[in-house]
Symmetry: C2
Subunit: 251 residues, 2 copies
C-alpha cells in the first residue's frame, strides 16, 4: 500500500508534458492529450490526492506508519504536504491552481491555447478569467469540498457523516451557486463565451457533487448551471479524465 501511494505521487509529479520527454515506469505514457486535458487531469489528480491522504491516513495503519517517510520526500516538492506538486524539466510548482496557471502559461502553444485568455485581449482578458478562478478557490471550493468529503468519503472510512456540517455548507454553497446561476445566464461560460481555466477549475468538485453525492440537484436543478454542466462535462478532454480516473489502479 505504501508502494502504491509512492507510485501515485510519482506518477502525479512527473507528468511528461513535453512531447520529447522519455517515459519510464514512474513516467506513465499518457495518450497525446490536449493541454486542456492535461490540466483537467491535473485538477482531478489534486482532488483525488487529497482524498487518498484523508482516507488512508486514519484508516490504514500501514499507511499511517509509512506516510511520514513518503511525506518527508514529498515535502521537498510541496512544503505543505497536503496537495500535489507539479514537476516538469523546468521547475516544480505546488498548489493546484498555481499548477494549472503554470501549465497554461508555459505550454500555451499546446492544445487549447486560450484557457487564460486570448493574446489580443491581454491583461483584461486574463483578469476576466482570474476573478472566477478566485471565486472557485475562495467561495465554491470550501463548502463543496466539505459536502463531498462528508457524503462521499466519510462513509468509506466507516465513520458517521456529520449532517449538521453538510446542511451548514449546503446553505453556503447554495448562495454561491445562485451567483453562478445568474452569471451563466449572462454568458455561456464563467468568463464569457469561451471555455477557460475558470470553468476547468470547477470541474473536479462539480463532478463529485453530481456523481458521488445526493446533492446533484444543487447544480442540475439550476437551469443555467445545468446547461453549463451538461456542456463542460461532455467535453472530450474531461470525459478522458474521468475514464482515466476510473481505470483500475495498479498496486
Amino acid at each position: 500500500m505504501s508502494t502504491r501511494i509512492r507510485t501515485w505521487i510519482q506518477t502525479r509529479t512527473r507528468v511528461p508534458i513535453s512531447p520529447h520527454s522519455s517515459t519510464s515506469p514512474t513516467q506513465p505514457s499518457f495518450p497525446r492529450e490536449t493541454g486542456q486535458s492535461y490540466i483537467a487531469r491535473w485538477a482531478f489528480a489534486y482532488f483525488s490526492f487529497v482524498m487518498i491522504l484523508k482516507i488512508c491516513g486514519p484508516k490504514v495503519r500501514l499507511v499511517t506508519r509509512t506516510i511520514p517517510r513518503v511525506r518527508s520526500c514529498f515535502l521537498k516538492l510541496q512544503p505543505f504536504g497536503h496537495v500535489p506538486a507539479f514537476k516538469d524539466h523546468l521547475t516544480t510548482v505546488f498548489g493546484s491552481r498555481a499548477n494549472c496557471r503554470y501549465i497554461c502559461d508555459q505550454y500555451a502553444e499546446r492544445g487549447n491555447q486560450i484557457l487564460l485568455g486570448k493574446k489580443e485581449d491581454g491583461a483584461v482578458g486574463r483578469a476576466a478569467i482570474e476573478q472566477w478562478i478566485e471565486a472557485e478557490g475562495q467561495s465554491f471550493n470550501p463548502p463543496s469540498l466539505a459536502i463531498i468529503f462528508q457524503l462521499a468519503f466519510v462513509p468509506m472510512m466507516g465513520r458517521a457523516t456529520d449532517m449538521a456540517m453538510v446542511e451548514q455548507n449546503e446553505v453556503k454553497l447554495a448562495k454561491v451557486l445562485d451567483v453562478y446561476e445568474q452569471r451563466l445566464g449572462e454568458s455561456q461560460y464563467f468568463a464569457g463565451d469561451e471555455f477557460s481555466l475558470a470553468d476547468l477549475v470547477h470541474l473536479p468538485n462539480a463532478h463529485f457533487l453530481v456523481n458521488r453525492t445526493n446533492k446533484a440537484g444543487l447544480i442540475t436543478e439550476r437551469k443555467n448551471l445545468a446547461r453549463w454542466w451538461d456542456d463542460v462535462s461532455a467535453r472530450p478532454a474531461w470525459k478522458k479524465v474521468v475514464e482515466l480516473q476510473n481505470q483500475p489502479k495498479t498496486s
Copy 2:
C-alpha cells in the same frame, strides 16, 4: 453613515490609476504612488471593506437598512457582494487577488515592475510567485482572518470573543507559519530574493495580527518570519498605505 459607506465603496471602486484620469469628490486624488503602493493599498482596502460590512451589518441599524440599496448597486461590480471590485477605464475585476494580478499585468510598466516576476523568467518566474499567492489564499488567510476578526473586531461589536475559535485557528495558523519560517530561511522573500506579489498579499493580515491582536508573537517569535516582517513592513509603500488607512475618515 450610509453616505459614508457609499462613499467608501465609490472611492474603492473608482481608483484613478491612470495618470490621465480626472479626479472628483468620489475619485480621491491619491499621491503619485508606485504601482506596488497601489496594490498594497488595494489589498488593505479589501480587508477593511470586509471588516466594515461585518461590523456595521449587525451593529448599526441605519446601515443594516440601507445596505440592500448599496449592495444592489455594488453587486453589478462584485456579484458576491462581500469584497470590493476594482474598476479602471478598461474593465471591472472582482476578488482582491484577481485585482492585484490585473494591476500587476496591466500596469507592469509603472512602479515596481517585477511584482509578478521578471520578464526574462517567463512562466517559471511567475509560477514561483503564484504558488505562494495560492498558499496565502488557501492556507494563511482562513485561520489568520478568523483570529483577527475574533480578537480585533468582535469586541468592537460589543460581542464576546469566541476563544475556542481563536485557539483552534491558532493551531492551524502555527502549522502554516512553520512552513513559512522554513521557506524564509531559504530565501529573503517568499518567491526568492526579490519582493513580489506573494509577499504583498500577506501584508494586510500580518499587519492586523501584529498590530491589532495579542498574537503578534506568532510572527515576531519566529526568527525568519520576524526578519521578513521587519523588512516588508518598513517598505515606504506599505508605510504610506498604513498612514493613509489611519487618516480620519470623512463621513
